[in-house]
Symmetry: C2
C-alpha cells in the first residue's frame, strides 16, 4: 500500500484490557510518522469493532493530538468501544464493500484469538475478491492465551491487579483467619490465576493453593487440599481460575453458572459469584470450618487504572506501532504481531510479524514447566517468567 494515499481503519474487539488504548495510540502515532504518512490518507477508528464498519460509524483518529491523545492512551478499556460479534459470510462481504467504497487499504484490529480469527476471515475474503487490503492483528488479552506471544499486552496489568489484590487479601486473611477463595479470570489458560503467586513475600504467605484450567479439577481433592493447608498454616488463601475443568474436560463454572453463551460459543463465567460461592459451600461441608469466604474479582481486574504495569503499557504501544511498520514494510500483506522474549540477560521483548493463524483460534495453555507437580501451585520458572512483566508488588511487613 505504498503507491498512493489510502485510508486506514483501526478497531478494537473482545474483552477490554487496561492498555488496549496504548496499542491504538501506538498505531496512530506510527501512521503519522514521516516514512509512513505519505502513503496514509485518513486514519479512521471504527466504533465497536466490526459493528462500526458495518454501520459506517467512524471517528477521525488522525486529528487527535496533544493532551487528549495522551489521555486516550492512558484510559483503560477500549476507547473506540468493543464488540463480540463474529462476522457471517454476509458481514464479510459488507465489510469489503465498505472498505472499497471508502478506499481503505489497511485494517488494524486490536484483539485476542477470536478477533484474530475475524480478521483472518476478512483478509481471506479480500484476497478471494482481489481487493488489495493489508490486515494486521494487534494482540491483546488478559488471559495471555495467544500462541503468537510470549505474553500478550494487557496480561501484565491484569496480573498486577491480581497479585496486588491477593497480597492485600492474604494480609486480611492473616489478620482474621479462616479460608478465603479468590476466583480469577482466565477461560482457557491459567496465566492470570498463576500471577497471584507474585503476591508472596514470606514463606507462609498466600496464595497457599492455585487451581488452573490446565489441571483437571476435583472438588474432593480441592476440599482436602484446603483442609491440609489449614492444618499447616492455620488459615488458607486459595486462588481459583474461573476456567477450571473437571476430569471430563467440562467447565466447572458452566456446570454451576447460568449457561449464557456469547456469539463465539463461550459460556459466561465472569460477572457472577456462582463458582466462588459453590466452592465455599464445598469447603464448609467438607471441613466443618465456619469462616469460609469467596470473592470473584470479575471485570475490574482488566480495567483498573491504578494497577497498570509500566512495561505492559510500553509493550502495548510498541505492538500497535509494529503492526503499522509491518503493514508498510516489504514483507507480508497480512499477519499478527508476535511478541518474543529475547534470549538476553536482561528482559527484552521483540515484535515479530507472524502468520495470522498463529494468533487465531486454538488458545495457548500454561506450559508444563510452569505448573507445580502438586497440580495446585506454580513453579519458580513461572515466577521468573512473570516477574519482569508485572513489576514489583509493594513490600509489606507483618507482626503475626
Amino acid at each position: 500500500m505504498n503507491e498512493k494515499k489510502r485510508n486506514v481503519v483501526i478497531a478494537q474487539s473482545g474483552g477490554p484490557t487496561a492498555v488496549i488504548n496504548a496499542s491504538l495510540c501506538g498505531a496512530v502515532e506510527a501512521l503519522r510518522e514521516k516514512g509512513v504518512s505519505k502513503s496514509v490518507g485518513r486514519i479512521l477508528g471504527a466504533k465497536h469493532g466490526i459493528d462500526g464498519i458495518l454501520s459506517g460509524d467512524f471517528v477521525d483518529l488522525g486529528s487527535i493530538r496533544g493532551r487528549r491523545f495522551e489521555r486516550i492512551a492512558m484510559t483503560p478499556s477500549a476507547a473506540l468501544g468493543s464488540s463480540r460479534r463474529k462476522p457471517t459470510p454476509e458481514d464479510c462481504a459488507a465489510i469489503l464493500a465498505r472498505f472499497k467504497e471508502m478506499d481503505v487499504g489497511g485494517f488494524f484490529y486490536i484483539g485476542g484469538n477470536d478477533s484474530a480469527d475475524t480478521l483472518r476471515i476478512v483478509a481471506e475474503a479480500a484476497r478471494k475478491d482481489g481487493y488489495p487490503l493489508s490486515c494486521w492483528h494487534i494482540p491483546k488479552t488478559i488471559d495471555n492465551d495467544l500462541r503468537s506471544c510470549d505474553h500478550a499486552p494487557g496480561y501484565a496489568s491484569a496480573a498486577r491487579f491480581v497479585a496486588s489484590a491477593v497480597a492485600g487479601d492474604d494480609l486480611d486473611n492473616r489478620a482474621l483467619g479462616g479460608v478465603k477463595i479468590d476466583v480469577v479470570m482466565g477461560r482457557d489458560s491459567g496465566f492470570l490465576a498463576a500471577s497471584a503467586a507474585l503476591a508472596r513475600k514470606r514463606p507462609d504467605d498466600g496464595p497457599h493453593l492455585i487451581y488452573l484450567p490446565e489441571v483437571p479439577f476435583s472438588i474432593e481433592k480441592f476440599a482436602g487440599d484446603v483442609k491440609a493447608a489449614c492444618r499447616k498454616f492455620g488459615r488458607c488463601v486459595v486462588v481459583v481460575s474461573e476456567g477450571i475443568r473437571g476430569g471430563d474436560g467440562k467447565s466447572i463454572a458452566a456446570k454451576l453458572g447460568n449457561g449464557e453463551k456469547d456469539s463465539h460459543g463461550n459460556v459466561q463465567m465472569s460477572g457472577s459469584g456462582a463458582l466462588g460461592d459453590a466452592l465455599a459451600r464445598a469447603v464448609r461441608e467438607a471441613t466443618g470450618l465456619k469462616r469460609v469466604r469467596a470473592d470473584t474479582f470479575g471485570y475490574i481486574q482488566r480495567s483498573f487504572a491504578l494497577a497498570v504495569s509500566k512495561l505492559d503499557f510500553e509493550e502495548a504501544w510498541s505492538a500497535g506501532a509494529s503492526a503499522v511498520q509491518a503493514a508498510f514494510g516489504r514483507g507480508m500483506r497480512t499477519g499478527t504481531i508476535g511478541i518474543v522474549r529475547a534470549k538476553s540477560k536482561n528482559y527484552r521483548a521483540e515484535y515479530v510479524a507472524m502468520q495470522i493463524e498463529q494468533a487465531a483460534r486454538t488458545p495457548k495453555s500454561m506450559p508444563k514447566k510452569f505448573i507445580a507437580r502438586s497440580g495446585c501451585d506454580v513453579t519458580k520458572a513461572f515466577v521468573e517468567y512473570a516477574r519482569p512483566l508485572v513489576g514489583n508488588i509493594p513490600d509489606t511487613e507483618v507482626l503475626v
Copy 2:
C-alpha cells in the same frame, strides 16, 4: 499516667483497612517522643486484638525502627492481626488481671464501633475496680459509620479503590454494553457505595444508579430504574451497597445470603456473590436484557495497597498520635479521637478527644443532604465532602 514508667498495650480489631497500620505506627512514634517517653515503659502490641491480651501473646513494638517500621506503616490490613471477639464479663476481668500483672497503664485500641464498645466495657471494668488505666480508641472503618468522625481513617482509601474500580468498570461497560451491577461494602451506611460517584468524569458516565442502605430498597423499583437508565444511556452501571434494606428494615443480603453471624450479631454480607447474582437475575427477568453482569468487590476493597489515599494515610497516622497525646495530656483518662472537618476554606482535619460513647454502638448513616431526591444517587454536597479525602481519580477519554 505521668508519675512513673508504665507499660502500654496497643491492639487492632474488626475489619482491617488499608491504613490501620499507619495509626499503629503513629501511636508508637508518639509514645517514643520526648515528652511522653519518660512515662512509658514497654510498648507492646497484642496479637489479634483482645485474644492476644487474654492469651498473653504480645510483640515488642518499641524496638521496631527504620525501614521495618516504615514498611509496617505502609502495609495494608492489621499487622498485629485482628479479632471480632466481643469480651464477656469474664474476659474483661481476665484482661484487667493481665494488665495489672504487666503494669499496663495505657491501652490503645484501633477499631470501629464494635471495638469502641469493647474498649468502653474494659475501661468501665477498670474504673469499677479502681485500677488506673487510660483507654483510648483510635478510629478506623471503611464503612465510615462512626458518629465521632466527619470521616474515619480507612474510609478514603477504600473509597479510592471503589471509585477507581467503578471508573474502569464503567469504561468496560461503555465498550461492551449491557447492565453491570457492582456490590460495594457497607453494613449500615452508604458512604462507601456513594464514593462510586467520584468515578464520573462525563455527564453520561456511570454509575448511573447508586443504592444505599439509608433508602428502603424495592426490587421492583430497582428493575424499573435500570430499565429507564438503559433507555436513556443505552447501557447501565449500578452500584449497590451490600447493606441495602427492604421497607421492613430487614437486610436484602441477609434474605439471600447464608445467614452466618459473627459474635456481634452481624450477618455475613461480604465474601459471597449471592446478593449481586440475585439482583442480576431480577434485572434479567424484569427487562428481558441478556447481558446483565454482577461483581461483588468483596474484601479486596479494604486492603489494596495501590489505591491508598495519601491523605487517609496521614490522617490515620495523626489519629494514632493524637490518641497518645490525649492519654498523656491533662484531660480525659479514657476516650476516642474524633475527626472534625475544620471550617476553613481549604480542607483541614482536627483531632478532638471525645467521650468513647461517641464512637461506640449506634452507627452513623449518610445525612439526608448527601442523598439525591430520586433515592438512587448522591448529591453534589456528597461529592464535595468526599473529593478531598479520596483525591483525584485519573482522567480518562472516550471515543464512543
